[in-house]
Amino acid sequence: MSSNEEAKAPALSDAKDLHKTSSTGETAIKFDHVTKTYNLYKNDRGRFLGIFNYKRKGVFLGSVNANDDLSFEIKKGEAVAFLGHNGAGKSTALKMITGVAHPTSGKIEVNGRVSALLELQAGFDMQLTGRENIGLRGQILGLSKQEIAEIEPEIIEFAELGLYIDQPMRSYSSGMKARLGFAFAVAIDPEILVVDEALSVGDKAFQRKCIDRIREIMMDENVTVLFVTHSSSTAQQFCSRGIVLDEGKKVFDGSIEDATVFYEENYA
């Protein structure tokens, strides 16, 4: 593409337009009739008995389908927003994309390294320092020592932690923890970036920095971005396609403009 060359240079605000046109035919994520069922029990004892298929009335409260026969396909390079109110099954779907949870039935296909901005502060060890936590997380994700050494200064600079980077994380403020989490997630050059309401980190200036960084990642046309939000305006800022979920079912799938209109009309 000849337009690609000149598109690299311009302002980050063009990221969305650039991204939209560049999706290739390859599948990044595919959900094939995926259902995720949670069994709910009155207490832990009930859950334990449930192991043995013992479902007495009053102890077993019922099942909830967090995702119900959900099917969609996302191509490599697409930027997709998941819209839906609380409990619509967005986070469950994202958890299954990251490979943490498994579907009760149906099939999920994910191609590429996933970096998730889910619950940014989770997974840090409070006894270790910020720097050690970067190493720890890097190792969990399977980065080599050299790769970790390369991204470490980037992360430290982005998170604006200064001297605190060598202090135990228990002494960090909640904002500092979140900034470090965000900095790590965006530093590892993901192929699939999952953003779950993560942009409310830190002060206004830092938020702007985060948004810029996500835009920068999206400039790479091969990165697939999944965006989970309640707010239509942020979705429109980044994404070209919208999927609306309600009670675990897909109720709308189309361009972001139509999706936000549909969402506002029915759920807002």
């Binding site: 334990f48 498994h102 619950e119 997974g123 270790l128 190792q139 399977g142």
Partner: protein
Amino acid sequence: MLKTLGTILKDNWEWRGRIANLSLFELRKKSRGAVLSWAWFFIKPALYIFCFWFALEIGLRAGESTDGPPYILWLCAGLIPWFFMSDMINQGCDVLHRYSYLVNKVKFPISGISGIFTGATMIVQVFLQLALLVIYFACGQQLDIYLLQVPILLLLMFVFWDMFSIMLSQLSAISKDVANLMKAFGTPIFWLSGVIFNVNNIPIPWLHTLLQFNPVTFFVVAFRSAFYDKAWFWEDQGALLGFAVVFVLTLVVMLLVYKKFNEEVADVL
């Protein structure tokens, strides 16, 4: 079931580098916040050994009648492997709560999480075994072929207790009862398994047979045969058979548990 075994072996093999690194992190984490950091891994065992030696040899005069190597060597050869097994029984059965973020925040094989803890405990154990070797030479013993059993036994101990941890930690994630049960059993197992007495001296035959099915007894006796009795651990065929039965049983139960729960634990933690 073979497929489940294949999955577990494959996961552990593919993630071996990360499991090993996280084991080191676990130790670093444990030693954090104390001036004597690393020394604490050894101070506690040393105190234990001293107390038992004092109570048994000085107080109860248990070691007096024996000829041959000093009593302290016999005691250490049993207590040191016990330290590993004690950690595995008390904490190893509940590793998923310990590393819950590896279960429900990042993708990590469930069976590998047990490997992290077993690995970390084993690193400490290897250093304690080296200390045991120093005691061995200090007691005037010679280097001989029976010591070759030690690495084999350490490997066997690693595999068996790793399986034990995979089996129980998933059940323990679903119900706290498992962890509480194992904590309650920790001390009784110590007193009943022959860590500080010689099981071969028990005059009741059925009790002797029963203890052959106790893995703790098996390892304690096996390490003593390497360091003290100068025998091969497989010579006692009753004990070997008993352990083999327990080993296979643990393997089968572990596979059944893993198959049923490995996808479910992330939902309940």
